[in-house]
Each structure stands twice: as structure tokens, then as C-alpha cells.
């Protein structure tokens, strides 16, 4: 048995209301919408409004997490915000969130960056701080307003959204049984300082990056805790598109039924640091006490964090205090490509 039981006291999500359909992007760039939808297994993606960014997404998710946990914000001893789209190059997003949820000033905070897995890195940090007794509660957030270059394949999936997890020891809605990570130096995807859009190594992003890390972290975790795929009721893998998580699951021996509740990419796109955390939230929205969840995040660059999570009885008492993932997904408004480029500042205007 592990010496420390830490886990999730509350979680909260936010998904912006605007959506753009894959066909609408294909219409502009002369792509075959149906073919792209089938290739990526994606219908549409969530788009941040003009006045939304990683800080506003993180704040609403954090407020929802606190509502669910029902604790005083001043009891939060640490906030870490993982993102690859922090509003400032220098000036932490975590400070804005801390002030907006009224956890400041007696606390520690920092921003994390690790492509799509910065949010799970934040959870691990909070587990350590809570487990060691340095803090009572820590807030780990993954949020992004991801952008793909106009016309790039990434433009069909790069989306906006986020989730926040309050990590503590008391009043757990789910225990984190264990975590296991794999990290290597892999140039599969990057964005240089000052550049507006990321670049990727094309085919290189599949086998040596996503699959290598997701599979080895998941296998490593299961070996460490002596579990097999059939021991889990649900599995969530990072969702850069609809195909990768399904292929990873199949390869590892997980079934479609285990994957079903946590797959969101077809309806909201790849929310980067929010992706696996929103998938986990969707599972927690419907999971029954005693159920076990496997979560494996992936971040380009590259690395994977895998978690085994067990849901407690407490979850049923806390549901309904904050909006569920489906509430945000079903509240949507479609925009055209012109509105999309205006909102996401992809057009130059006279200053």
C-alpha cells in the first residue's frame, strides 16, 4: 500500500460556447470535409470568444471545482496552470486565477508548460505537496486556446477548453491510487518563441511520439500497481484526434466500452492541456462509486503521465453543484470561418 492517500476533492470544467464545423474549415481551404472528418474522427471544435483566453477558461473551471468541493478558497495552498497558450509570455496565468477565485495572497503559484500534458504535471505536483503535508489543498488546471496555422491540418482540431482539479486528502470524490510517467527528448511538435503557430514533424507525431509514450506510461503504471486493462471500468487517453486514443486503447487491450464515456474530441476538438482532463471529468460526471479509471495524458516534446483513479461514495453527494461537461457541450453556437479568424485574431487589422 502507498503511504499517502491523496485524490480529487472536486473538479470543474469550462468549454467555450462557440463551435466551428470541420466542413466549414474545409470549405475555405478546398479540403474534402467528409474525408477529413473520417480521417480525424472529428465533427467540430470549440472556439474561445474574443474576450476569452486561458486565464478566463482556467478561472471558470477553478470556480466550478471549488463549488463542487465546497471549501473556502483561502484553503488552497497552491495553484498550477498548465497551458501552451498562456496570455502573457512573462506574467503567470496562475496569479490571475488565484486572485479571481480569492485564493490569494497566502499561497504559492506557477505556470506549467508541457504541450498537452501540462495539466497532469500540475496534478502530480499537487499530489506531492498535499501528500507531504506542505499544503492542505492544491489546484491543478489544464487549459488552452490552441491555434493551428490557417490551412494546416491542426486547424481542424486545435480547440479551446479546460478543467481544474482540487487535490487534497479529505472529502475525496476519487482517490488517485498511483501515477507513472515517461519522458524523452522528442522533436515531434514545437513552437519557437515569438512564433504564432506551432509546427509538427508530420508523420513523426504518431509512432515515435504519441504511441510510444502513451503505451509505455500506461503499461508501466499497470505493471507498477499489478493491474490489467480489464481491472478498469473506464479509460481516458489524450485525444489529439479521434483515431489516436482508439488505436492506443486497442493496442493496450482496452475495449470501446471502456473508452466511450471519456471521448470528447469529436465534439469539441483537441483542447490540448484540457484534453485528457476534460475526458476524465466527463467520466467522473457519470462514474459510479467504486469504479476505477485509467487516465494517460500525452504531451509533445515528449512525455506521458498515467494515473489510476478510484471513485468514492462521496461523488454522488457532490454532483450537481457545478455544470457537467455535457452542459457546456450542449450549449453551443456555430460560427463561420470569417468570424473564427476575427475572434482568434488571425487577421491583421489597422492599429
Amino acid at each position: 500500500m502507498r503511504p499517502l492517500t491523496v485524490g480529487i476533492c472536486g473538479y470543474g470544467v469550462y468549454i467555450p460556447r462557440l463551435r466551428i464545423r470541420a466542413e466549414e474549415i474545409a470549405r475555405i481551404w478546398g479540403g474534402d470535409g467528409e474525408k477529413i472528418k473520417k480521417g480525424l474522427l472529428i465533427e467540430e471544435k470549440a472556439v474561445a470568444d474574443f474576450d476569452e483566453d486561458t486565464a478566463t477558461i482556467a478561472t471558470e473551471a477553478a470556480r466550478n471545482a471549488l463549488k463542487m468541493a465546497g471549501i473556502e478558497p483561502a484553503a488552497v495552498g497552491a495553484i498550477y496552470v498548465g497551458s501552451e497558450s498562456h496570455p502573457y509570455a512573462v506574467k503567470p496565468t496562475a496569479t490571475i486565477v488565484a486572485e479571481a477565485i480569492e485564493a490569494a495572497p497566502v499561497m504559492t503559484a506557477a505556470d506549467y508548460e508541457f504541450a498537452c500534458k501540462a495539466g497532469t504535471a500540475a496534478i502530480q505536483t499537487c499530489m506531492g505537496l498535499v501528500g507531504s503535508g506542505m499544503i492542505e489543498y492544491g489546484l491543478a488546471i489544464g487549459a488552452d486556446t490552441a491555434q493551428g496555422a490557417p490551412g494546416d491540418a491542426l486547424e481542424y482540431t486545435a480547440a479551446s477548453g479546460g478543467a481544474a482539479y482540487l487535490i487534497g486528502k479529505k472529502g475525496l470524490i476519487a482517490e488517485i491510487e498511483d501515477t507513472y510517467s515517461v519522458t524523452t527528448d522528442t522533436p515531434d511538435f514545437w513552437r519557437r518563441e515569438g512564433e504564432p503557430y506551432p509546427r509538427h514533424g508530420g508523420r513523426f507525431t504518431g509512432s515515435p511520439a504519441y504511441f510510444k509514450h502513451v503505451l509505455s506510461a500506461t503499461l508501466g503504471l499497470m505493471k507498477k500497481i499489478g493491474a490489467a486493462p480489464e481491472d478498469f471500468d473506464h479509460a481516458v487517453f489524450h485525444q489529439p484526434n479521434g483515431k489516436f486514443p482508439r488505436n492506443a486503447a486497442k493496442n493496450l487491450g482496452f475495449t470501446d466500452r471502456q473508452l466511450k464515456e471519456g471521448i470528447l474530441v469529436d465534439r469539441i476538438g483537441n483542447t490540448y492541456s484540457g484534453s485528457s482532463l476534460l475526458g476524465l471529468a466527463r467520466v467522473l460526471d457519470v462514474a459510479k462509486p467504486g469504479e476505477r479509471i485509467l487516465v494517460t495524458a500525452f504531451g509533445s516534446g515528449a512525455g506521458s503521465d498515467s494515473f489510476s483513479i478510484r471513485v468514492t461514495e462521496e461523488i454522488e453527494k457532490r454532483r450537481g453543484r457545478a455544470p457537467a461537461v455535457e452542459t457546456y457541450i450542449s450549449d453551443r453556437r456555430y460560427i463561420d470561418y470569417g468570424t473564427y479568424v476575427k475572434l482568434r485574431r488571425k487577421i491583421k487589422v489597422a492599429e
Binding site: D51, E60, R319, P323
Partner: protein
């Protein structure tokens, strides 16, 4: 209200959350905060209070020609919202099209970007309002 947070900190963050004052003599609530209760005058007993960001649209206007710093958000809705706790707040209404807003519409607070000062200046955040979610939407 935040336990133990010194007054200084609540002041600096009052634009992120709705802080007003409540008069303990007559129970009236004011936003923005006042120094004296106009009904009780010298008998005022004011204390800081965090207001619940829920209310309804009292009146609104659609801004099509915006002041500097807001040009790229047009058209947008500015409204006077009457909070359930009484005070009135001038605010932008988001997640709502100009033809969807109505007087009496239930709204709730949301944290958004207010303004950016140019390409390299600070970004200002604060509260706005959006159409309220029905309580049933909170359930799964």
C-alpha cells in the same frame, strides 16, 4: 466572504468579484461600495459584502460604434443589471447575440477579458454577465 482576507486584498481584486457594502442598520446593499448609507446617514453601519453574481437585465443597448480598445468586439451588448440582492451594475452581456437579449432576462456573472492595452500592454480582466443557466442544467 473570504475568511480572514485583509481588506486591502479585497479592494485590489474588487474588479474580479462583485464586492459591495451592506448597511447593517437597514439591510440595504450598495454597489459600487459607498462610504455612507443614504437612508441611515449617521446611523450607517456599513460592511463589505461579496455580492452573488445573479440578477436580471433592467435595460440594455447594443454598441455598434465602440470606444477605443473595444472596437473589435462590436456589436456587443451593454446592460444595467439589477442584482437579486438589490444593487445595479453596468456590465457587458456576453454569450448572447444582440437579437437575443431582452429586458427581464436572468443573467449570471462570468470572468472575462475586459480590455487589452495595445499589443504589448497589460490585459485587464473582470466580471461580465451572460444568460443564466437553469438549475436543471447543473445536473448530469
Amino acid at each position: 466572504m473570504t475568511m480572514g482576507a485583509p481588506r486591502f486584498w479585497r479592494k485590489t481584486q474588487s474588479r474580479y468579484n462583485l464586492y459591495g457594502v451592506k448597511c447593517k442598520s437597514c439591510n440595504a446593499t450598495y454597489f459600487p461600495p459607498r462610504k455612507i448609507c443614504p437612508s441611515c446617514r449617521r446611523a450607517s453601519k456599513l460592511e463589505d459584502v461579496k455580492l452573488t453574481p445573479k440578477g436580471e437585465v433592467l435595460t440594455y443597448t447594443v454598441i455598434r460604434s465602440a470606444p477605443e480598445g473595444f472596437e473589435r468586439q462590436t456589436p456587443y451588448i451593454m446592460a444595467i443589471v439589477k442584482l437579486d440582492e438589490g444593487p445595479m451594475v453596468t456590465t457587458q452581456i456576453v454569450d448572447c447575440e444582440p437579437d437575443e437579449v431582452e429586458i427581464g432576462m436572468a443573467v449570471e456573472g462570468v470572468f472575462r477579458k475586459i480590455r487589452e492595452s495595445g499589443k504589448d500592454g497589460p490585459i485587464y480582466y473582470g466580471f461580465k454577465f451572460r444568460p443564466a443557466r437553469a438549475d436543471k442544467d447543473l445536473a448530469v
